[in-house]
């Protein structure tokens, strides 16, 4: 740990804007891939970059007990971190049905279908890769995604694991989030980009706002 390491709760508004811009370009690329996959229009929210006390992180997806499907990808390379794609139960069901072109009930409480699992993992894979490609082009960093891992569970349990590393460093977490929406089908997905503190500094340096 060097002394120059960024303190998350001291990020300036210019730095947060730079992170939103990254999320905008990354998620834009992912939304395009998503649209092509579903063969229909996918809208994307304006990205948000918020600094939250750790205790609030498990609450950000409608409460700690909300049932979600979480697809987590670890990122290695020049700027390591994690990417989480989260869908609420109904959205996950609609999405897999659209892609598989059949009506399967997705019961997250019981053992889910292998094919639904693979479908969701594959979606996570495609979205994450598109996001990282855009980020790579912007920063010249080599970013290597892991195979995705899937969990159906309480949002709180999934989020606390995803943002755990922030807890090692301090009492705040940087939450960079973009929402995907398919209004016709009522599918809503949340995309989170979680750089390590070292990566965060590298990315901000690369964008020319490392010291502001």
């Amino acid at each position: 740990m060097n002394n120059e390491q960024i303190n998350i709760n001291e990020l300036s508004s210019i730095q947060l804007d730079a992170l939103k811009e990254i999320a905008n370009i990354g998620a834009g690329n992912a939304a395009t891939a998503f649209s092509q996959l579903l063969e229909q229009r996918i809208d994307m929210s304006v990205p948000e970059a918020n600094i939250l006390p750790l205790s609030e992180v498990p609450e950000i997806l409608g409460g700690a007990e909300t049932l979600i499907a979480g697809i987590l990808v670890k990122v290695a390379g020049d700027a390591p971190g994690k990417i989480l794609f989260a869908l609420e139960e109904k959205s996950a069901e609609k999405l897999t049905n659209m892609l598989l072109d059949e009506k399967l009930e997705l019961d997250l409480k019981s053992k889910t279908d292998q094919i639904q699992d693979s479908t969701l993992e594959e979606i996570g894979n495609i979205l994450t890769n598109s996001y990282l490609n855009a980020l790579s082009r912007m920063t010249d960093f080599s970013l290597l995604p892991s195979v995705p891992a899937l969990a159906y569970d309480m949002a709180g349990a999934i989020l606390e694991v995803t943002f755990l590393q922030a807890g090692h460093i301090g009492d705040y977490a940087l939450v960079v989030e973009t929402e995907f929406l398919d209004g016709d089908e009522g599918i809503q997905g949340h995309f989170f980009f979680i750089p390590t503190p070292e990566s965060l500094q590298k990315i901000l340096d690369k964008l020319g706002v490392g010291k502001i």
Partner: protein, 160 residues
């Protein structure tokens, strides 16, 4: 009956017919301490095993060691008797399966181990536990009788 919520990296105490609740424990561990005579109890939701040696923490409730210490202090102030305190713990799951998962890196397992070690050092008897595996848990701690209800999305509720 008063419901008291305990968020991640936080703790709280209550008495008589209060219910202490912490939701969505993943790799974190929930620690319930109870004095059955006074019906005073406390619940902590810890994230990490111990305070790193190279830094001072601003939030003692985040780490197993400092959190249990603080919880004991609050329980003593409230009038609980240390010799009667018993513990029930839950959580410490391994939520995502990555192929290269190294057990030493699994924070859930390290949290469980740290909590058990500290309870032993403090001579607090561990009465029951529901730990590990790969799913999230919610704890509801009823101070009326010391029961801890464990809720998951995967199976039946369980009483500790």
């Amino acid at each position: 009956m008063k419901k008291i919520r305990v968020k991640m990296a936080d703790l709280n105490i209550g008495e008589v017919d209060d219910v202490l609740i912490t939701s969505g424990l993943g790799s974190c561990v929930g620690i319930a301490l109870y004095d059955s005579r006074t019906k005073i109890g406390g619940l902590a939701h810890i994230m990490l095993p111990e305070v790193p040696t190279n830094r001072k923490s601003k939030n003692p409730a985040k780490y197993a060691d400092t959190s249990i210490e603080l919880l004991l202090k609050k329980l003593r102030q409230k009038g609980a008797n240390f010799r009667r305190l018993v513990a029930k713990i839950a959580g410490g799951a391994h939520m995502f399966k990555f192929d290269n998962s190294n057990p030493q890196m699994q924070i859930g397992a390290r949290n469980i181990e740290a909590v058990k070690k500290i309870l032993k050092e403090k001579n607090i008897r561990l009465l029951a536990e529901d730990v590990g595996k790969n799913y999230g848990r919610t704890m509801e701690f009823y101070l009326e009788n010391g029961e801890v209800l464990i809720k998951t999305v995967k199976g039946e509720d369980r009483v500790l």
